[in-house]
Symmetry: C2
Subunit: 225 residues, 2 copies
């Protein structure tokens, strides 16, 4: 899937009146997500307002760019004060149309799976882990983060019953492709891949691979040079 094709330059001309354009450009959506990340952290720390300058320091996005991005959707800030954290979180969620709840299934009940199931990193953003799968028969039936570990054989049934839209893969690289095939066959179209494997999927399935080490390399480049 070429995500770039979804961007529509015409939306840039949208009027300044709280209306959400049909589709955001790729860059705007990425930056809004980044603001949302920092705002969520700030909210957790009890912050009530935040300035574009502070947001800039945490996101490494230019403060003018931030004000420009936000002012395209409405006048959210207060001159001399900054932006209300709660209200800006709500506005960005509205713009990104991701204010709702989404059910996700977790694959792999190892250390990483347990860490994800027991943390609130996904729950904070409306993602509910409603099922955990593992291929190890010794783990099936045990409890992880309030959920009973299920057999992958039940995958199709669970996807339908629970309305699962996202699969999170926290399994070894060698098991990932086979599992991805089953996940796709069961009808899930968004895969979050922590396995380190390069997955082959149909064009209508979106795979997001997270790579903390590469992000670290990138950070290191600017620190060392």
């Amino acid at each position: 899937m070429k995500i770039g094709e979804l961007a529509d330059p015409a939306v840039e001309a949208v009027a300044n009146d709280d209306v959400v354009p049909e589709r955001l450009s790729l860059g705007v959506a990425a930056r809004l997500s980044r603001y949302l990340q920092v705002l969520t952290q700030a909210k957790k720390m009890g912050r009530e307002t935040i300035s574009s300058q502070e947001l800039s320091e945490y996101t490494h996005v230019n403060s003018t760019q931030i004000r420009r991005d936000l002012s395209g959707f409405g006048k959210f800030g207060k001159r001399g004060v900054g932006y209300n954290v709660d209200s800006l979180v709500a506005q960005i969620r509205r713009i990104l149309q991701t204010g709702g709840q989404h059910n996700i299934a977790l694959f792999g009940a190892g250390h990483l799976g347990k860490a994800i199931a027991s943390s609130d990193i996904f729950a904070d953003h409306g993602f509910n882990v409603v099922a955990i799968f593992d291929s190890d028969t010794r783990k099936i039936g045990s409890k992880v983060g309030g959920q009973t570990v299920r057999d992958v054989a039940d995958l199709s049934q669970v996807v339908d019953d629970e309305g699962i839209v996202v699969a999170v893969l926290a399994v070894p690289a060698l098991a990932a492709q086979g599992l991805a095939d089953e996940i796709v066959a069961a009808g899930v179209r968004i895969v979050f891949n922590y396995s380190g494997a390069l997955l082959q999927v149909p064009h209508d399935v979106a795979v997001h691979a997270s790579s903390p080490a590469v992000e670290l390399l990138h950070a290191l480049y600017f620190y060392l040079s």
Copy 2:
């Protein structure tokens, strides 16, 4: 720290002769890191060559842009064939000047800490976990991923002895700021923050916050709309 200030547009004019410019622009460095991520996965899957078109599908970066980025540093590809995976990994590491080994310290021996310590996600890119700390006295002295869990009181000493350049925070949000202060006092200047807390650090310290849920929101936006 305003990372953007480090970018130097002048490097764009660098000659096509295998020389690494003094500093890459922010965008080029980010994209090269992304290529490296996919190439590392491809290598793990046994792939020998990869085309700019395939790299484009996996990175969502336009294939012309990829060829353009790479050809700025040398002629790495073979027409009609593509790029050799091993050789391109080596070239990008050379360009990013991150081919060496770096010692990192892990904070928090919970599920996430154990997942990081026992995986090869950091080791694959030359990051060696040489120390694990926890504040829970019951965990201190136990073994996690081949390392003995240490007392945070020993932090300064260990940073000096082991030459630690990066701290990875896998601790609860409430413990993060206090720990970050100690880490900075001990002389570490790069912090990878998984805690969900918004950290206040001096300007010469780089904090990288990972937020899988926000990345997922971003992916979802383009899928749903």
